[in-house]
């Protein structure tokens, strides 16, 4: 529709300008001029007829349900977005293809080498504060000195006692550390050399009801693998999601290559997908990577019983929130479940092997890591041990540099993270650093010459400026490929305008989705924490 109006407008404009430009001469009765104007008028009438019929075709297509995004356009005209967007790679054979324009890839130094080393971590922890909405002091069912098996219950929330948080490894509970106001910060387990698993029955999916399946997941702790949008919480046992979304690639800076991570795990991944398929009333959607020249792993491309969607673009294209927005946006009271690839495998192994297997392959990345590579370990591993030796003035981050959490060497990987980033602290003054910086630094803006060439940056944690009021506009939209106005949403959150927050799509976002906006922000506004404030307000209202 939009294009039509544009076309007609352009033609009218052209006709108008030619009429007026020659108006002075027309009095003299120039034949060629008159003829050409007549010709033009006939062309426009012809064009308008085609336009009207094109509109009618589209209306008809919409009414008969042919107008699907994944299908070829029914219009007679190519749309602007189709003409200029990226071409579909040849390996995309089934499923829909989305080319997203907004976004920005931050190329940092220290990408993980494609080898898997054995992780050196000996201690692992469950950190209740990883879970949104859990009460600060959950009921811890183990005491220091207890022996646990992988899959034994460690704690549960008194508000929702049926959701069990279980030990990722077997071993001895060596500490229950408390944080501010006596909240439980972490339950630390010293792992056995050989992990002992609590054994669970391997259910036959064909003969299991949804209720029994849910109970099995709750009992085994695998339920906690599920992240529910809106708000990013663990779902209630009674929640039935509209759909399940799994992004099979991560576009964040230095993110692990999930194709490499899942090698050889095809059966468990497929089993996990089958389980999730039984839990939703809709379908399981797989977001696939169409950015590279090579097709992604066959573990993903050969998955069955799922809807596949291919995505091409820049970060945050790999974020599941972006993919949901384009495939089937969260609207009204919709609930959507999302899982990471390794979390799906954990669920799958519960059914193929009968155990809670929280093994993880983690990418240790960043310019300050001594050997950036993958390590095999378990969920919630000690960060210092995995990261190896790092210098003094270095920050350890659980997750990526945009939405990860700063950790000390003694602390542990967060529940859903599969990456450790090491990055130099930027606590130095720099003369005229804002005007003529000494080193290349990543930027979404086009005000740095280094942006013109392909460089990988050795970034540091300096804020590169002070916090200011919102001044620049249109900046967030450039890096957020969603039909959302982030700046106006943030302002609505700041002034506590519920109706606007809801209307402008707060429920479609989690912190990771606006992280790139926060990075790009000229005014250095803390968008992720503003968004979380808004989400908490909405969650209390719901």
């Amino acid at each position: 529709m939009k294009n039509n109006i544009l076309y007609t407008f352009l033609v009218a404009l052209f006709l108008f300008s030619s009429n007026t430009a020659f108006a002075a001469d027309s009095g003299s009765g120039s034949n060629i001029l008159n003829l050409s104007l007549w010709g033009l008028a006939i062309l426009v009438i012809f064009f308008l007829i085609i336009q009207v019929s094109d509109n009618l075709i589209r209306i008809e297509a919409k009414e008969s349900g042919l107008d699907n995004k994944s299908q070829a356009s029914v219009s007679l005209f190519p749309s602007f977005s189709n003409m200029f967007s990226a071409k579909k790679p040849s390996y995309v054979k089934e499923g829909s293809f989305y080319a997203l324009k907004a976004g920005h890839d931050i190329a940092l130094e220290g990408i993980a080498a494609k080898v898997v080393n054995a992780g050196a971590a000996t201690t692992y922890a469950i950190q209740p504060q990883n879970f949104v909405g859990i009460s600060p002091i959950p009921k811890v069912t183990v005491a220091v000195g207890d022996e646990v098996k992988a899959g034994d219950v460690v704690c549960f929330d008194k508000k929702r006692p049926n959701i069990k948080y279980v030990a990722p490894v077997s071993g001895e509970v060596i500490a229950v550390n408390r944080g501010a106001k006596r909240s439980i910060k972490e339950v630390v387990i010293l792992a056995d050399k050989e992990i002992n698993y609590k054994s669970f029955p391997t259910l036959d999916l064909a003969n299991t009801s949804r209720e029994a399946l849910v109970n099995h997941l709750l009992e085994s702790g695998a339920w906690t693998m599920i992240n529910q949008r809106p708000f990013g919480i663990i779902p209630d046992a009674t929640d039935v999601p509209k759909a399940v979304f799994i992004s099979t690639f991560d576009s964040a800076p230095l993110a692990p290559d999930l194709n490499f991570v899942v090698a050889g795990q095809g059966a468990a991944f497929q089993k996990g997908l089958d389980v999730l398929g039984m839990l939703t009333e809709g379908s399981v959607h797989l977001g696939l990577d169409a950015r590279g020249t090579d097709a992604p792993s066959t573990v993903f491309t050969d998955a069955t019983g799922v809807e596949k969607h291919w995505f091409h673009g820049k970060h945050p294209v790999g974020n599941v929130g972006i993919q949901i927005h384009h495939v089937s946006p969260i609207a009204g009271d919709d609930k959507v479940w999302t899982l990471g690839v390794q979390e799906v495998i954990t669920i799958g192994k519960l059914f193929t092997e009968g155990k809670f297997d929280a093994s993880r392959i983690i990418a240790v990345t960043g310019a300050e890591a001594s050997t950036p590579a993958y390590v095999s370990t378990y969920l919630g591993a000690n960060i210092g041990a995995l990261a190896g030796t790092v210098g003094d003035n270095v920050r350890l981050v659980s997750g990526d540099v945009l939405s990860g959490v700063q950790k000390s060497k003694e602390e542990f990987l967060d529940f859903r993270d599969d990456q450790i980033t090491t990055i130099k602290e930027g606590n130095e003054y720099e003369m005229f650093g804002w005007l003529a910086p000494m080193d290349a630094r990543p930027s979404v803006s086009q005000t740095f010459l280094s942006g013109l060439v392909d460089v990988t940056y050795e970034a540091n944690t300096n804020t590169h400026g002070e916090k200011r009021a919102f001044v620049v506009t249109g900046q967030y939209e450039k890096v957020l490929p969603m039909d959302i106005y982030p700046q106006h949403l943030m302002k609505a959150i700041i002034v506590n305008d519920f109706e606007r927050m809801d209307g402008l799509g707060i429920n479609e976002l989690l912190e990771e989705d606006v992280a790139l906006c926060e990075f790009a922000c000229t005014s250095k506004q803390p968008l992720q924490s503003i968004l979380r404030e808004g989400l908490e307000i909405m969650r209390e209202q719901a």
């Binding site: 720099e430 990543p442 001044v471 106005y485 402008l504």
Partner: protein, 419 residues
């Protein structure tokens, strides 16, 4: 880092002397990017900050500054019938222009920054960079002979009423630089309109009128140029030549259409900007070069610039079609040869704080500025140019435009929920 240590040592105490501390902080953060590190949220931050954003806009105007200062002198000597080539007597033109421009620049910044600093100290926050751009824009949109006292009052009005009253940088509704201009325009309507104000140093653009050079020209520059070996000097006996008007192309066009304009100014003269006007607005190619910098760096919105051009062109075409007065019949494309359209487009309409803030809204906002501004220019004899009023007018409407754009977004989402 000897300098850094020295600077750290002289830091005034924040409680005892808040104003001095604010001042110190402003200059210190200008010289040294602070050592702050990220805490919570993203661990790395984009290299750009507000200082860098603002300074790029200021850099984009530098060509206008250079040309403007020479053109002040050029217009002055044209009235006297001297040095008719643009580069003839360049030293005299530059000296004359700088003597006019530098006081305007200094007064603007003393008053504007002084008020900014005072408010920052009073509110206890860091000095914000907004006035960097406003302060650089204000001299460029003033007539060269603007009395400094009026200028000071205009700047004070713009900064206090236009910005600080709303909460400072990022909160203002109206464009600060244009507010200063509009204050001059409406506060002193009789002395600031007419043909004589656009050319510096003339009491009346009448033939035979004398020029009064101050001591700085005859007592300082003439001996200086003599010692440097120049052969041309400021001549206190020069008089305005016969037939000189000092009228701008716009007022000529209003009186007699495009033919009347081309009788006085050639097309290339108007395009390159060797014509009377506000200091920085005349040279179209140099302004477009600045606009190019702003678009290439992504600092200013190309949407606003493009749609404003389209809006003005469409309105000019409609006026061509109407064709009731000589000004209306000026071919639509020649409208862009006259006046300050490009300056308003590149530097005024694109101010992100006062423009519409949604991408779709920006297109509507720009289009309406072009549309309304052309109406004011052509149809209203009281105003020499339309863009100042059109932009201020649309500044007021920008939130409304955004409101409807956001409303459409909310309706789309609502429909999705109900579908």
């Amino acid at each position: 880092m000897g300098l850094l240590d020295t600077l750290k040592k002289i830091e005034p105490d924040k409680k005892e002397s808040p104003f001095l501390h604010t001042l110190y902080d402003g200059f210190f953060t200008f010289a040294f990017a602070p050592d702050h590190v990220t805490k919570g949220g993203t661990h790395i931050k984009d290299g750009i900050d507000l200082k860098r954003t603002m300074v790029i806009v200021v850099l984009a105007m530098q060509l206008c500054y250079l040309f403007g200062s020479i053109n002040i002198g050029h217009q002055h000597f044209s009235a006297l019938g001297l040095y008719s080539g643009f580069v003839q007597g360049l030293h005299l033109k530059l000296a004359y222009g700088l003597v006019k421009l530098i006081p305007i620049f200094v007064v603007t910044h003393l008053v504007g920054l002084g008020i900014e600093f005072w408010y920052a100290a009073k509110k206890g926050h860091a000095i914000e960079e907004g006035f960097l751009v406003s302060g650089a824009l204000i001299p460029l949109i003033m007539p060269p002979d603007v009395p400094l006292l009026w200028l000071a009052m205009a700047v004070a009005f713009a900064v206090i009423i236009g910005k600080e009253a709303f909460g400072g940088t990022g909160m203002n509704i109206l464009n600060v630089a244009l507010l200063a201009r509009v204050f001059i325009f409406f506060a002193y309507p009789t002395t600031i309109s007419g043909d004589e104000v656009w050319v510096a140093g003339l009491a009346k653009p009448e033939a035979g009128a004398m020029v009064e050079y101050g001591a700085i020209f005859t007592g300082f520059f003439n001996p200086l140029f003599e010692s440097l070996g120049f052969t041309s000097f400021f001549d206190p006996t020069a008089t305005v030549i016969d037939g000189y008007t000092g009228a701008t192309p716009l007022s000529l066009a209003y009186q007699g259409g495009w033919e009347n304009v081309t009788r006085v100014y050639s097309e290339s003269q108007m395009w390159w900007g060797a014509i009377p006007g506000s200091i920085g607005e005349t040279s179209k190619p140099l302004i477009l070069a600045g606009a190019g910098i702003l678009i290439a760096t992504g600092i200013a919105s190309w949407r606003i610039m493009l749609s404003m051009f389209v809006g003005a062109a469409v309105m000019a075409m409609l006026l061509n079609a109407w064709d009731a007065t000589p000004f209306m019949s000026v071919p639509w494309y020649y409208q862009f040869w006259m006046g300050s359209f490009f300056f308003a487009m590149a530097f005024m309409a694109t101010d992100p704080v006062t423009a519409a803030s949604t991408n779709r809204g920006k297109i509507i906002y720009g289009f309406l500025i072009g549309f309304v501004g052309m109406i004011i220019r052509v149809l209203n004899p009281a105003y020499p140019e339309g863009w100042m009023l059109a932009i201020l007018f649309m500044n007021v409407f920008a939130p409304l435009i955004d409101h409807y754009v956001l409303d459409a977004n909310m309706t789309r989402r609502m429909n999705r929920a109900n579908a």
